[in-house]
Amino acid sequence: MRATPGGPFDKEKKVTPEVMAALNAQYKLDQPLYIQYWDTVTNILKGDLGPSFRYPGRTVNEMILEGLPTTVELGCYALIFALLLGITSGIIAALKKNTWLDYIPMTFSMAGICVPSFLLGPVLVLIFSIHFNWLPVSGWDSFAHKILPSFTLGAAYAAFVSRLSRGGMLEILSQDFIRTARAKGASESQVILKHALKGGMFPVISFLGPAIAGLLSGSFVTESIFQIPGLGRYYVQAAFNRDYTMIMGTTVFLAALIIFFNYVSDVMLIWVNPKLNFDKGQS
C-alpha cells in the first residue's frame, strides 16, 4: 500500500517542509516501511485500528463504529426482504413448475441478477421518487427512506434465493421419500412443509455466507447512491482520499466479518443436514 505513489497529505494545501516532517513524524510515516508494517499489525491485533489520516483527531475504530449500525440495519432489511421474497417465490415456482407462476417469478429473478444495484437503484429513484414522487430520493431517516435502498440492495439476492429455493425444492420433491410421505397419507402442505422444506432450503442456507459477504460489499454502492451514512460510504470515500488507515482498518474489519459469517453458515449447514454431521464425525 505504501509503495504506491501519493501520500495522504499530498492533497492538502501546500505545507512547508518542516510541517510535513512533523506530521510525518507524528504519524510515524518517516519510519522505515517494515517498522510501520510491524506497528500496524500489532495494533490491529490489539483491536486498535489507528487514527484516520483524513480526519485528524478521529480514530478508525470510532468511524467504523459510527457507520456500522446503519450498514447492519440496511443489510438486515435487505436480507430479510431477499429471503422472504426469494423463498416464497421459489417454492411457488417449484410447485407450479412450467406454468406462468413459474415463468414470471423466474424472469423477475433473472432480471434481479442481470440488472446491477447501481443501475436498479437510480432507475427506481427515477420512477418512484422523481416521476411519481412517492418516496424520498435519499437519506436514511424515516421508514419511507429505507424502502428503496433495502429493495435495491436486496433485489439481486432475492433473485438468487428464489432460483436456489426453486432448484432445491424441485430436487427434493423428486426424491423417493416424498412419495413415501404421500403414501402415508400426508396432505400436500404437510409434505411440503414437513418433509421437503428442510432439505429444499439447503442451497439457500449454503448461500447465506456468500450472500452476507455480497450484501456487505454491495452496501458501498447502495449507500453511495442513496447518501446513507454507513460503513460502505466511508469505505468508498476512504479509497478516494487515500486514507490508509481507514482503508486498512475497514478492510480488515469487513474481511473478519465476512469470514465469521461464512463460518456461521457452515455451522448451520451441518445443523440442517444431519448426514453431514455424521460424515464429519466419522472422519
Partner: protein, 330 residues
Amino acid sequence: MLEVKDLKTYFYTRNGVYRAVEGISFSVKRGEVLGIVGESGSGKSVSQYSLLRLIPSPPGKIVGGTATFDGVDLLNCSQAELQKIRGKKISMIFQDPMTCLNPYMTIGDQIMEPLFIHDKLSKEEAVKKAKNALEEVGIQDALNRLKSYPHELSGGMRQRVMIAMALITEPELLIADEPTTALDVTVQAQILDLIKALQKKKNTGVIFITHDLGVIAGIADRVMVMYAGQVVETAPTAQLFEKPSHPYTRALLSSSPALHARGERLKTISGLPPDLSKEIKGCAFADRCPERNDRNCGSENPKLVELYKDHFVANCEACIHHSPSNTSKA
C-alpha cells in the same frame, strides 16, 4: 376387499406415449397374499402405485379402469378421502429404504407420522406404539433407536423400519414393492419371514411385487404374472409352478437359476421386451414366443380365460395346448 378392473396407466413423454399398464384386472381378498411377478418395465410397480394415485402427474396419467377398495373408488375419490386411506387402510413399503426414508427426519418421527395423521394419538401414546412397532420388527434398543437418522442404520434395519412404519396403523392391505431386492440374501430371508409372520398375525392382505420367483414361492398364496403392462397368467402359487401355461411363465421358470441342476446351462429368453411407447398389435409376447404361430399371434391380443379352477391364462393355443414335459417342478 380390493377389486381392480382394466386399469390403464400411460406416461405422456416427449418421445411418445408410454403405455406402462395396459388394462390389467385382479383382486385381493382379506388376509390373502398376492404375488406379482414380472421383469423390469412390465408395469408391476406402476400398476400398484396407480392404486394410491402415487404416479407423478405430469407425465403419468391413469387413463382408465376402476379400483374398488371396500366400496371406495380409489381412482376417482376426493383427495381427502384418498389421504385417509393412504397409510391407514392401505400402506406401502418400497424397494430402496435408503432413498425412501426422509434423511432429514429421525426414524421415530417418521414412524409416528401416520399415527398423528390418522389416529390422532398424543405424543406419549405415539412413542409407546412406535417403540412396540420397532420391537415387533426385531430392532433392539427401540426407544433409543427412535432418535436415530436413517443413514445411521444398516440396509436391513431400514427396511424393518419401513415395515414398522407401514404396519403401525394396522392397515388392511399392504403393498410391498420389491422390499427385498436391495438387500443381501440372508437379510432377504429374514425380512420375508418377518412379513409373513406379521401378515399372518394381523390378517393383512398383501400385494407382493418381485421379479424373483423363489421369493414368490415362499410367500404368495396366488401369483399374477405380468408382461409388457398386461397380465399373462394368474393362478394359485403351487398351481402356477406345477402347471405353468403361458410361454412366458414357462420361460421364466426354466431360466430361474434355482431350478437348474448344477452345471446346467442357464436358459434365457431371447429378444428384448417391447417398446411400450409404440402400440403393440396382437400379443405382446409374440416376438419372443418360441411357440408363436403366424395365424393369430400377430393380430389378436388374447384375453384371459379360466383354464383350470382359479387359474387364468391368455387365450391362445400356445398357452392352452402346451406340452407338459417342458415344465420344471418348483
